[in-house]
Amino acid sequence: MISIRGLSKWYGAFQVLADCSTEVAKGEVVVVCGPSGSGKSTLIKCVNGLEPFEKGEILVDGISVGSPKTDLPKLRSRVGMVFQHFELFPHMTVTQNLTLAQVKVLGRTPAAAHEKAMALLDRVGLRAHADKFPGNLSGGQQQRVAIARALCMDPIAMLFDEPTSALDPEMINEVLDVMVELAQEGMTMMVVTHEMGFARRVAHRVIFMDEGKIVEDAPKEEFFGTPRSERAQQFLAKILHH
């Protein structure tokens, strides 16, 4: 579904990504982790072309992201993305947030878009908040709306960029619950997160990054059981001991 081959990216002279390669199969849940500054967010933003890259190739459902001939808006409309800071549109109601792209990009009728939005709000348990503005919702509720907004487009894969990092601890679970459910339904997911509990529960594979390189790319059991690299061992020891 998503294949990344020899991806390299520079900010000026600084190399943020160095020759990264991996594959995400249909229905697979891949967790990307690593210390901050390791390039994991940049990697995931390259997948839907939000960040340009200089070398290598990314194919999403067989379409090359880096090719100048690719209709990027169309490709992006098929790949959902959830951001660390939610990025709901604050000047629109929850419903308007959910229907905008359905109408403007997919060409659905307002009625059909509204129906879809309500169904997805039901699913994340926020139908009662349909007419509120994002600023009146808690962080956890905003992130669930953001997930619903991405799902409204019927994506073939979902990208999560540290979806729980900006949340208060008591709100993390309500968001993770939605993500777990999504994973169990067979959604193809690439998730940048430090939530190792989530990784243990639903991930198929874990990618560990450091200094722009993919240091470890292993099935979940292997990663948590016997990580090969020393760097990954240190990282796990640090975040699992508390």
């Binding site: 933003k45 790949v79 951001f83 709901l88 549109f89 604050p90 792209a101």
Partner: protein, 233 residues
């Protein structure tokens, strides 16, 4: 203190002052504001364009804004009034100059001049919207124009509303400069009556009072509007 003044002249000339003068001033302000904000927003988008291929646009918009902001408004009004017939004629390929009245000449001049100032306000407004908002628009499959139109500009506009309206109050006052092309705006009408009836002090006092009241009321309205339209964060 006011002995010897004749305030009746104001009452007698009220219909003329407002029906002729104030209508001209308000129409000019409204048209130049609308045109200036639209044109200025376009300039702001050009100035903020990224990518090597768009570099000429960035340069062009920057040069335009800096030129307009470096010239005194009176000069621009004056020059434009005499140049527009020639430029217009040249543009449509006519042998003769085209006829543009003082009013439309003023509308075009003020639109182009104010656009430079509105541009800088909208540029700050666009930059006040976080980059993540733009990314979110793109991630949903919206293209540049839709992301700007539905996501970034509405927020930029709300954030900058007080400054935009303050600039419009300044524009309202600046329209009095059309006296250089002998157009009859509110101040021009007051000046005509003042000279005809030799009541300079009365008329100019009254004109000042009217500008003061309109500008003050507008400034107060800005504050109220801002509270109502602000984005909840």
């Amino acid at each position: 203190m006011f002995a010897g003044f004749d305030f009746d002249v104001i009452e007698r000339s009220l219909p003329y002052l407002f029906r002729e003068g104030m209508v001209f001033t308000v129409t000019l302000t409204a048209l130049a504001m609308t045109g200036g904000i639209v044109f200025g927003t376009g300039l702001a988008m050009m100035r903020l364009a990224t990518g090597v291929s768009l570099a000429p646009l960035v340069w062009l918009a920057g040069a335009y804004v800096n030129l307009m902001r470096a010239l005194p408004l009176v000069l621009v009004i004056f020059w434009f009034y005499f140049l527009v017939p020639w430029i217009g004629g040249w543009l449509i390929g006519a042998r003769q100059t085209i006829q543009v009245g003082a009013f439309w000449s003023a509308v075009i001049t003020f639109t182009m001049f104010e656009a430079a100032y509105y541009c800088e306000i909208m540029r700050a407004g666009i930059q006040s919207v976080s980059r993540g908002q733009q990314s979110a628009g793109y991630a949903l499959g919206l293209n540049y124009w839709r992301t700007m139109g539905h996501v970034v500009l509405p927020q930029a506009f709300r954030n900058m509303l007080p400054v935009l309206l303050t600039q419009t109050v300044i524009l309202f006052q600046d329209t009095s400069l059309v006296y250089v092309i002998s157009a009859t705006d509110f101040l021009g009408a007051a000046a005509k009556v003042a000279n005809r009836d030799h009541r300079l002090v009365e008329m100019y006092l009254f004109a000042a009072l009217v500008y003061l009241v309109v500008s003050y009321v507008a400034s107060r309205t800005v504050g109220r509007l801002q509270a109502r339209l602000a984005v909840i964060r």
